[in-house]
Amino acid sequence: MKAAVEMRELSVRHRRTVILDQVSLVLPQGAFLAVLGPNGAGKTTLLNVIPALTTPFSGYLKVLDAEVSRLSPFARGRLRRRIGYVPQLHSRGASVMPLCVREVVEMGRAGVRGAGRSLTLEDRQICDDAMRQVELDRIADRAFGVLSGGEQRKVHLARALAQQPDLLLLDEPAGHLDFRWQEAITQLVGRLWRTLGLTVIMVTHDPRHLPAGITHAAILSGGRLIRMGTLAEAMDAALLSELYGLPLRILETDGRYVVLPEALR
């Protein structure tokens, strides 16, 4: 199967600090990769390097058949249009602009349609479909700023889907939400992956936020790729205990995993 993402000995540095250290991985098209690891492991940097939002120091990176280091700024823009990106939202300042849900979702078509061109009827239908897929169509005209954190995540998912991407990058989509919304977003991400045939890369701290049946999992620590395999292989109590520096145990139910401190036994 063709690779959606291929990294070979990819390193990212900020001044003298190594953020990603010689990371190599191959992700086939249609796969779901979960990226796990402690704070400062380089998870978000790994995600940012794929759409060329962060420039690597060295190594080889191929995304959707494009060798990223050889791309011109315009070609990078074209690549980004094929990648739906939902960044960490809880750490971002709220926009003061009075925008409705539909306007935010339509931003997903802005890059695709091209500079200076108005959105067409087809673009608006694609946005309607994206909102329907995440069950936002009923609140399309509501102000974005008054939505709950969970609803805002859905809007950004719809915005990313409106790009009709080949690759979806999600950074903690269920983070900092209450339990109901964590589960709603997890189920939604799983459903979108299964029904749309997308390749998904999702960064998360918490394996509870991963839908059942995902194909790949990677564990990062200190910028290094410690393990790459299935989620079951990554959910290794001994490895995670060592990484986080406290004894952990792992519970598994229907393909979903929960990590708990050993002391809670």
Binding site: P51, L53, P73, G77, R78, L79, R80, R81, I83, Y85, P87, R92, G93, S95, V96, M97, P98, L99, C100, E103, V104, E106, M107, G108, R109, A110, G111, V112, R113, A115, G116, S118, L119, A143, H156, R159, Q163
Partner: protein, 272 residues
């Protein structure tokens, strides 16, 4: 109304609309302090122009754009918040302006005019640059409507969606610098900030949609400048200070309106 009064009114309306629009752009970018930074850099540039004998408008524009261009790299390299860098550059440029004024005793009144502004000394030749400083950002907002909206909402998300966000962002900052520069001798470097901020924030308090926020910022900017001018005529007050007071009043009214509207919503929910 005399020809002179028509000229003053026209200048106030066009300059006010331009400042309102520039303010909307800067506040939407979450860079409200960029306005004060640009205006004081332009002031320092204008003082420098008197010192060097170079064109005032051009030197002030170069100074404001240079300061705007420095903010991002300094913030990134030193890992300092952009607002902190802007506050340092603001105080530096203000200090340089005062230094220039102090050193040029013979032209002090002219230079102080740049600080306080004087709408009544405006010439017909000042109006085309003012109109350009209003229309160019407006054209950017219309021609690149979806791109500017995305960049104003979230620059990083716009970039990740394949929009050339940096080009749009720097175009916005450069155009705001131009607006600030051409309005310098009307409202004055010290008081321009209120005309950049107050009408735009007031419009955002009241507006329900993006379009009404853009139009509202321009309309309130024009009304603040024209209202300040009327107050200046009526009470024989300095034009710049009058414009500042009117713009602050407009902002206060928008706050009261917003508060009343919020209270209505709560009461509706309670009765329900």
């Amino acid at each position: 109304m005399t020809v002179l009064q028509i000229k003053w009114l026209l200048t106030a309306l066009i300059g006010g609309a331009g400042c309102g629009l520039a303010g909307f752009l800067l506040i939407s970018l979450n860079l409200p302090f960029m306005g004060v930074c640009l205006s004081h850099a332009a002031l320092a540039g204008a003082v420098l122009a008197y010192f060097l004998g170079t064109p005032v408008l051009g030197t002030a524009l170069v100074a404001s754009l240079a300061v705007a261009a420095l903010v991002g790299p300094i913030a990134d390299k030193t890992r300092t918040h952009a607002n902190t860098v802007m506050s340092i550059l603001f105080s530096l440029t203000l200090g340089l302006a005062f230094l220039g004024i102090g050193l040029m005793q013979d032209r002090r009144s002219e230079l102080l005019g740049l600080m306080w502004g004087n709408l009544l000394l405006v010439r017909w030749a000042d109006i085309p640059p003012l109109a350009l400083a209003w229309l160019l950002p407006l054209i950017l907002l219309i021609v690149f409507a979806k791109e500017t909206k995305a960049v104003l909402f979230d620059r990083e998300i716009a970039r990740a969606s394949g929009i050339h966000a940096a080009a749009i962002y720097y175009a916005i900052i450069a155009l705001c610098g131009f607006t600030v520069t051409v309005n310098l001798n009307i409202v004055g470097g010290l008081m321009l900030y209120s005309l950049l901020t107050n009408p735009a924030v007031a419009a955002m308090q009241v507006a329900q949609t993006y379009r009404t926020a853009v139009i509202g910022s321009m309309v309130l900017g024009a009304l603040c400048a024209a209202g300040g001018l009327a107050l200046s005529f009526g009470l024989n007050w300095p034009a710049g200070a009058s414009i500042v007071l009117v713009s602050a009043l407009v902002y206060a009214v928008s706050l009261v309106w917003r508060t009343c509207k919020g209270r209505d919503a709560v009461e509706t929910n309670r009765s329900w």
